[in-house]
C-alpha cells in the first residue's frame, strides 16, 4: 500500500502528472473573484471564507478523473487488483495520494490567498482548520466516484454529477464552521459535524470503493 502511495505521489509530481492543476485553478478563482464582485472590503471579507471553500471543492473535483482512469487505460489497475494488495487498501492509498497532492496544498494555500479576499484576521486559522478537516472527505468521496465511473470514456461529466451532491454536506458544514469562526462566533458544532463526516468517509468508503472496483473490473 505504501508502495502504491509513493508511486502515485511520484507520478503526480512528474511532468504531466497534474499536481499543480487543482492549485492553479484555486489561485485563478480566488484572484478573479475580487474583479467580479468589486473591491469593497466589506462585501469581500463577508464572502471570503465561503469563496475559499467553494473554490477548494471545485479544485479538488477537477483532478478526480485522473485517480483511476490513467491506471485503467494502461492496464495497471487490473494488475494491481490481482496483486497482493486488498482493493480496500488500494482505494485508501489512492485517496490519500489525491489528498496529499490536492487537499493538503489547497489547505496550505487558502490562508495565503485569503489576503486577496480581505479575509478578516480572525478567519485565517479557522479556514485552514476546516479545510484540513474537510478535504480528506472530498478525496475519499471523489475516489469512490472515480471508481464508479472507471472504464467509462470521458466519464468526467458523469463523475462530477455523481460526486457533487455527495460533496454538499461537507461543503455546508465546512463553510458554516469557517463563516462562524471568521465572524467570531462559536464554531464547535459544525466543526464536529465536519470531522464526523470525514471520519465516516475514511471508515466506510474504502469498502464501497473496493466493491465498485470489483464490479467494474469484471
Amino acid at each position: 500500500m505504501i508502495a502504491l502511495l509513493l508511486r502515485d505521489l511520484r507520478l503526480a509530481t512528474r511532468a504531466g502528472g497534474g499536481f499543480g492543476l487543482g492549485l492553479v485553478f484555486f489561485l485563478i478563482v480566488v484572484v478573479l473573484v475580487p474583479f467580479g464582485v468589486g473591491p469593497e472590503t466589506a462585501i469581500l471579507s463577508k464572502i471570503a471564507s465561503g469563496i475559499l471553500w467553494v473554490a477548494a471543492l471545485l479544485a479538488a473535483l477537477l483532478s478526480l478523473d485522473r485517480i483511476f482512469a490513467l491506471d485503467f487505460e494502461d492496464g495497471a489497475l487490473t494488475l494491481i487488483a490481482t496483486a497482493p494488495i486488498p482493493l480496500e487498501a488500494m482505494g485508501l492509498a489512492k485517496a490519500t495520494a489525491h489528498w496529499l497532492t490536492t487537499g493538503l496544498p489547497l489547505t496550505i494555500a487558502a490562508p495565503i490567498l485569503g489576503v486577496l479576499l480581505q479575509l478578516p484576521n480572525s478567519g485565517y486559522s479557522i479556514v485552514a482548520l476546516t479545510l484540513l478537516l474537510g478535504t480528506p472527505a472530498l478525496s475519499m468521496i471523489g475516489t469512490f466516484g472515480a471508481a464508479l465511473t472507471v472504464g467509462i470514456r470521458r466519464g468526467g461529466l458523469l463523475l462530477s454529477l455523481l460526486v457533487l451532491p455527495l460533496y454538499i454536506p461537507t461543503l455546508i458544514f465546512g463553510a458554516e464552521a469557517a463563516r462562524r469562526g471568521t465572524a467570531g462566533l462559536d464554531a464547535t458544532t459544525p466543526l464536529l459535524m465536519l470531522a464526523g463526516i470525514t471520519a465516516g468517509c475514511i471508515a466506510l468508503l474504502p469498502f464501497a470503493t473496493a466493491a465498485v472496483l470489483r464490479i467494474n473490473l469484471r
Binding site: 505504501i2 508502495a3 502504491l4 508511486r7 511520484r10 507520478l11 512528474r14 511532468a15 504531466g16 502528472g17 491506471d71 487505460e73 494502461d74 492496464g75 495497471a76 489497475l77 487490473t78 494488475l79 494491481i80 487488483a81 490481482t82 496483486a83 497482493p84 494488495i85 473490473l217 469484471r218
Partner: protein, 192 residues
C-alpha cells in the same frame, strides 16, 4: 452468459499450458477467471491463490517513471527486490534509466514481461505475452519462462497464437469447448 463450458485441465509443476483458439473464443475470459477477476459461472479452480499472478496484454507500465522505477514498484508490491539478473534476462541493461514513455512498443512490452521475473510467483496466467515482440525478444521471453520459471517448479498458462518453442508445454485448443448459444432460456443450468 457462459462463454466456455466443460473446460478441464491439470498442469503439473514445471510445465506450461498453451491456450489456443480463434479470436473471441474465450482465452482471455478463461485467464481472467483463473486470475480471480471474475467469478466462474460454474466449476472450480484449484491452485495456491497466493502464488498466482496475471498479466494481460496491457502491461501497466507507467510512462512517467523510469524502467527501474516501474520494476521497483512491482517488486515492492510483492515484497521482493528487483533481481540484478533481470536486466540480462530481458535485455534491458541499457534501458533501465530511460523513462518508459520513450521506449518503443516492443521494449515496453519487455519491461512488462520483466515484471513477471520481479514478482516471483509460481503460477502465471499470461494473456498474449508476445504481442509486439520481435523474434529475438520472443526468444528471450521463452528462455525466461523455461529456464527461470518452469525450471524452478513454476506453472504457466499462456494464451498465444505463436510458437514459443517450449518443449515441455502441452497445448489446449479451446475451440471444442465453446459454450453453445442456448439463448435466454433457463435450461442452460442442465448443461453446466
Amino acid at each position: 452468459m457462459p462463454v466456455l463450458s466443460n473446460v478441464s485441465f491439470d498442469v503439473e509443476a514445471g510445465l506450461a499450458l498453451i491456450l489456443r483458439g480463434p479470436n473471441g473464443i474465450g482465452k482471455t475470459t478463461l485467464l481472467r477467471t483463473l486470475a480471480g477477476l471474475q467469478e466462474p459461472v460454474a466449476g472450480t479452480c484449484d491452485f495456491p491463490a497466493d502464488q498466482a499472478a496475471y498479466a494481460s496484454h496491457a502491461d501497466g507500465i507507467k510512462t512517467a517513471l523510469t524502467v527501474r522505477e516501474n520494476l521497483a514498484f512491482w517488486a515492492d508490491v510483492y515484497g521482493n527486490t528487483v533481481p540484478d539478473a533481470i536486466w540480462d534476462w530481458f535485455d534491458l541493461a541499457d534501458l533501465r534509466d530511460r523513462f518508459a514513455g520513450t521506449l518503443s512498443a516492443g521494449q515496453k512490452r519487455r519491461v512488462g514481461l520483466a515484471r513477471l521475473g520481479v514478482i516471483n510467483r509460481k503460477v502465471l496466467f499470461l494473456d498474449e505475452p508476445t504481442v509486439s515482440l520481435d523474434g529475438f525478444s520472443v526468444k528471450l521471453f521463452s528462455n525466461f519462462i523455461r529456464d527461470q520459471h518452469l525450471a524452478n517448479g513454476g506453472i504457466a498458462v499462456i494464451a498465444t497464437h505463436i510458437d514459443l518453442g517450449l518443449d515441455e508445454a502441452t497445448t489446449l485448443d479451446l475451440t471444442p469447448f465453446a459454450a453453445a448459444d442456448f439463448g435466454p432460456s433457463d435450461s442452460d443450468e442442465a448443461f453446466l
